[in-house]
Symmetry: none
Subunit: 217 residues, 4 copies
DNA sequence: AATGAATGAGCGTTCATTCAT
DNA sequence: TATGAATGAACGCTCATTCAT
């Protein structure tokens, strides 16, 4: 670090900059949370001076929003794309949806984003709202829509899709938070694939052994 | 300050003051998160001067840990107590467990604690570890234990309890985070009771309409 | 400075502080102008740490306003007081008014205030407005009122008091600005007393030699 | 940048660019004061990049001085010119002098210069000195000279020209500062022409009604 | 000559922490 | 034990200045 005679104090690379800054900022925000992230650290990580950040983002909050926005677009594109190539059937669609999300978000560095948003929701309602409107509402529509579809076709039992969608999604959220908060304290890491399998198994067929399911709460 | 001569045996325990501080701190931490909580505000809320805090807690972090520690005791006492009065059967025990948790934590001010721990886990691994060891591991043992029991008795289908327990618990976590992060943006508040009902319904009987459950992922 | 083992790091003197801070701030503001004044310097001058300023004044601007306000009250009290003990006659009152102002403001450290306000009026319209409403409007009322009175009693020629008051006051302003801006470049300092004498002489009797005053512009 | 081969003899003088820069800088300095003026804004206003400024002026201060210097030339040329066409008589010359100044400076955008210099005199004694030597001393010589002349010819009463010249000039200064600092808070703008009329009226004939002028201070 | 990306010192402000009372 | 005035390090942000292009 010290021994690396900077190739030149003036690197001009306005084109690559924004992406580098966003990467650095994502990493810092995810590592430390919004408030604890110092712009100095972001800049250092990106290899620029603090002031440089301000050429690209007006302030910390704008940078933060840019990071969130940026990190989520590809994920959603991915999900949307996959929805086209998929087989029919509500169940199959649900499986694909959850699988895609698990692969693209929960299992990647992007998982830091939901974690971050949840952590900072209290302090930055604006961010939470942004996330709610841009991300959550879409996820809700996708999942609840598929649930309703399945119910309509008789594939699924009659359930309240408005509430069930959160139940369906909850294990994904759990996996994200687990990895960010508690996985470190366990000997074995969480096997996301297996986690999803168990979830899907339970989701479709339930806990109850056959014959027990007559009795409902 | 006041000339009270007789602390006598009626004086409040030395612990009394800390309790007020902890209450105030809990409220502030939950409202604002760790970093954004100002000790000034905690002190004001507790009706003492800022310096007084330092008589009881060495610094902000120690206070934080004390708050988390303290807030969890009653919750677990409650759950442990109820476990005795409960009916037999894995399913009934699971229902009771989840219901108790929903009532005592998710639906109360205590829900701020898990929210807080998750939010700050990145910055304070120590707290996360503490929470993991004191709270999560117990919850895991209770839930996974009951699952294994149910599988053993044939009440439940054969599932991997080591993974399934998180799935079972996830909707509770979801409800907590939802209320703290996104509920504000929706017209209707989340009905915790209904949320739990739907969860239990799905949990035991699954989504699949009867006859469909042959095909597994 | 270095050799003065601070008598104790903690000087508690909340009562004296505000005045000391205002004195230091007045000096700095007057010396450097608003924008160029660094709160660090104000604090150092007052012998406190920078943060201490914020116990007393919410921000730089509030400090500035406090300084201005504080510096002007005594001056105006003085003028108001003297108005009572004075002899009758518009001319005598005008003389007293201008003399008092010259002594109490133009000739004292307070002269920094008008100078400062004028200098910063562009950047801080709020301050200018404050000064206009608190100070200038009073001065205008006093002077213009006396002019009208003199015209009414026949002591003064008929002049437009709404415009004349500024003419009457202008040499006072001039003396203030002169001392702050250009006096340093002259061998002899401006003799305020003489300046006022010449002003009063011209003001009452004009430049024109007797017999010439028939011809008016 | 563009491939212009023939600067030829029609190209603008090298000075042309500086003129645009000076105009832009004058406007900004006058609008905001020295400290608050951003070179970015100056550059943008002049239609060049920020770095370009540094081709012509070593730093902000040099630019500032150049602006002041530059802005004063035309004004003085004007006054000097008019001095030739003028009628005889000290009074007439004084009237012309003040009228010219009022029209050419106080009533124009140039009024920003004195305002600026006065405002920044504390921070930039160098500028104040420059202004004093280039502008004020000439004004003083002109006015005081005319006063002495009038006294010598018996047109004026015997007054101390060394002090009276400032009194004579003060209302002009007042009008400039008024317009820049306080005019905005009044319903009606200051009528410069009327202001000057009242000034001249008082200046030559004084306030005192005929017959009162026996009594002098 | 001109550009504008990059720099970094500097300032206003905040707040956890200290300590004389 | 309790107070709250005082501290000072730290951070977000600005902008004059530099320099590779």
């Amino acid at each position: 670090m010290l021994n690396r005679k900077k190739p030149s104090r003036w690197q001009r690379r306005a084109d690559a900059r924004p992406q580098e800054l966003l990467d650095a900022a994502l990493a810092e925000f995810v590592e430390r949370g919004y408030a604890a992230t110092r712009l100095d650290a972001v800049a250092r990580r990106a290899g620029v001076a603090k002031g440089t950040l301000y050429r690209y983002y007006e302030n910390k909050f704008e940078l933060f929003k840019a990071v969130v926005r940026h990190a989520l677009v590809p994920g959603f594109d991915e999900v949307a794309q996959r929805q086209h190539e998929q087989p029919s059937g509500a169940r199959a669609r649900l499986v694909l949806m959850l699988t895609t999300f698990m692969e693209r978000v929960a299992g990647s560095a992007l998982s830091g984003i939901p974690k971050l948003v949840i952590a900072e929701a209290g302090n930055f309602p604006e961010v939470a709202r942004f996330y709610y409107e841009e991300v959550i509402s879409r996820a809700r529509d996708m999942v609840a829509g598929t649930l309703r579809e399945g119910v309509a076709t008789g594939e699924f039992r009659a359930i309240d899709a408005d509430y069930a969608w959160r139940i369906v999604v909850a294990p994904l959220l759990m996996s994200i938070l687990w990895r960010h908060s508690f996985a470190a304290f366990e000997a074995e890491p969480l096997d996301l694939r297996h986690h999803l399998e168990v979830h899907l198994d339970l989701l479709f067929d339930g806990l109850a052994a056959d014959g027990t399911d007559t009795e409902r709460t």
